[in-house]
């Protein structure tokens, strides 16, 4: 199936939940230096609930569309929803096969969200391998 399916291009051209929040609880940025993809997530968290989530970013269609799609899912959810997110969830949202060359594009949103949560909790950041899993580069 075509990587540049209609839904991906639609989210890329008309990103959802984009913007910046005033007085946020947590803000976190991740980059793929090698391609220049950047995503910054800002969240307002009240009693463990993500009451507001906005993001900004630049980069390729896959990285930006994936963030747009997952952002829609998360607002109003408990922060545990981010703990529970897996690479398969992102793949399912994108609904196109992601080859290893695009894994870092597709999963930049997940990596940013996971580390935003670690920032919120004063925990140690996780590495790319933690995010994508050991097999990912070999698949």
């Amino acid at each position: 199936m075509d990587l540049y399916a209609e839904n991906i291009l639609d989210h890329y051209k008309h990103p959802r939940m984009q913007g910046e929040l005033p007085d946020v609880t947590v803000q976190h940025e991740e980059k793929n230096i090698s391609c220049g993809d950047t995503i910054t997530v800002t969240m307002k968290v009240e009693n463990g609930t993500i009451s507001n989530l906005r993001w900004t970013g630049t980069g390729c269609a896959i990285s930006q569309a994936a963030m747009s799609m997952i952002a829609e899912e998360l607002e109003g959810k408990k922060t545990e929803a981010i703990d529970a997110l897996t690479t398969d969830d992102i793949r399912a949202l994108l609904h196109v096969p992601i080859g290893n060359r695009r894994v870092k594009c597709a999963l930049l949103c997940l990596h940013t969200l996971k580390n935003a949560l670690h920032t919120l909790r004063n925990e140690q950041m996780q590495s790319w391998t933690d995010t994508v899993g050991n097999e990912s580069n070999a698949s």
Partner: protein, 410 residues
């Protein structure tokens, strides 16, 4: 006689395959070249008939392998016009060659307060080893600026030399992003006058122009086999004999010693002194074959062909709205590659879509982040020219890129 690129193309088995019914259009030789059949056959023959370790043992195979390995060194010597095979060190890559100089020369002969001068055009492999030296020894790393077209600003170069702090100049022979060619001979002469040595990163240059280390008078020069139609896993360091002779060995192990006792070792003579462990033997055979194969084409024919392809690519790319070429737009000022950006279209998306039609271009910062920062862009798309590039490879680009832009443009 002009170069018959269509016939050369038929010598590359990989290029005969199709990607979803599209012919394979490989325009990424700056990253790594494809290999002609003759190189693949030579390596296969070596493993089939002559494989043994080199310089150790008296049996017939060892002798054959050693002869093959040393024949490769002589072939490289001629390729660079070095005066002695003692000056030809086999490494694993350009990267390793440059690191060898940064370690074995830099760590031992440079001291705090000395400066290494690096150009903004450099690949990370000619930047990071010097930054490592800065971390280890407090050596200053300074930059030679380029103008908007990616040409070396000689005023910036000369004024830095004038301060007399610079002891090493690390300069590429050919930019792997812009295709521009720093004036090596002039720069080397100036550096020497100011008391600095010069290492040339010829990873790209070696695939596109004749190199004569004696005429250039460079002190060190590095290139990789895999970019000149040879195999991966082998690189070359050329160094002037007196410099290599004065430097301590790099890695320690077999092959690089004269004698070893319980408390002490004595390094052996050049070139083995810098070749610890079992070297890339079959790769040396492949590299020699690649060099000998290329000799069947004259440098004039090669460059005429390349400039024709570059001129065609420039005029084709100019037709695309919103596409901006980085660096000179005059084919006489570049060799090897052209990079560009497209308004509103990320290079990864563009090259992914082109790739699905069998068109292989490179996207990213091409391991030249300082250059991309200087140009004010995160990434670009690059097309490279090689011996097998035909007009068809180039002419297919404009409609394909135009179509991709239509899909992606917001």
């Amino acid at each position: 006689m002009s170069l018959d690129s269509a016939s050369i193309r038929r010598q590359f088995p990989l290029l005969q395959q199709k990607i979803d019914d599209h012919p394979m259009m490989y325009l990424d030789a700056s990253a790594t070249s494809q290999k002609p059949q003759i190189v693949l056959d030579a390596m296969n023959d070596f493993y089939t008939t002559s494989n043994a370790n080199v310089h150790r043992g008296m049996h017939v195979l060892s002798e054959r392998a050693t002869t093959e390995y040393e024949k490769a060194r002589e072939s490289v010597r001629r390729f660079l016009n070095a005066s002695s095979t003692d000056e030809i060190i086999f490494t694993k890559s350009s990267t390793e060659s440059i690191n060898l100089v940064a370690r074995c020369y830099g760590e031992h002969f440079l001291k705090e307060g000395d400066a290494v001068l690096v150009s903004i055009l450099e690949h990370h492999s000619n930047i990071v080893p010097w930054l490592q030296l800065k971390e280890k020894k407090g050596i200053d790393v300074r930059w030679i600026e380029v103008d908007q077209q990616g040409q070396i600003r000689m005023d910036s170069f000369e004024s830095q030399l004038a301060e007399k702090k610079v002891k090493m100049v690390a300069i590429t022979g050919l930019s792997n992003v812009l295709g521009t060619l720093p004036p090596l001979k002039e720069m080397i002469a100036s550096a020497h006058k100011a008391g600095a040595l010069v290492i040339v990163d010829a990873a790209q240059l070696a695939a596109h122009a004749q190199i004569d280390v004696q005429d250039l008078d460079c002190d060190f020069l590095a290139f990789s086999g895999h970019k000149i139609y040879g195999p991966t896993g082998i690189g070359v360091l050329y160094g002037k004999k007196d410099l290599l002779g004065a430097m301590p060995p790099f890695l320690g192990g077999g092959m690089m010693i004269k004698e070893v006792t319980r408390g002490h070792f004595v390094a052996t003579d050049l070139p083995a002194k810098f070749e610890a462990g079992t070297p890339p033997i079959a790769e040396a055979v492949g590299l020699r074959t690649a060099i000998e194969w290329q000799k069947t084409f004259s440098w004039k024919d090669r460059q005429d062909h390349e400039r024709e392809m570059l001129a065609l690519a420039l005029s084709e790319l100019k037709k695309i709205e919103g596409l901006h070429i980085l660096g000179p737009k005059n084919p006489d000022q570049i060799l090897g590659c052209i990079s560009f950006v497209v308004d509103g279209v990320h290079p990864h998306d563009l090259t992914d879509i082109l790739g699905s039609q069998g068109i292989c271009l490179r996207a990213g910062h091409h391991c030249a982040q300082p250059l991309h920062d200087t140009l004010g862009i995160p990434a670009s798309t690059r097309l490279s020219i090689s011996l097998h590039t035909t007009k068809d490879d180039i002419l297919i680009l404009t409609p394909a890129i135009t179509k991709a832009i239509k899909i992606l443009k917001k």
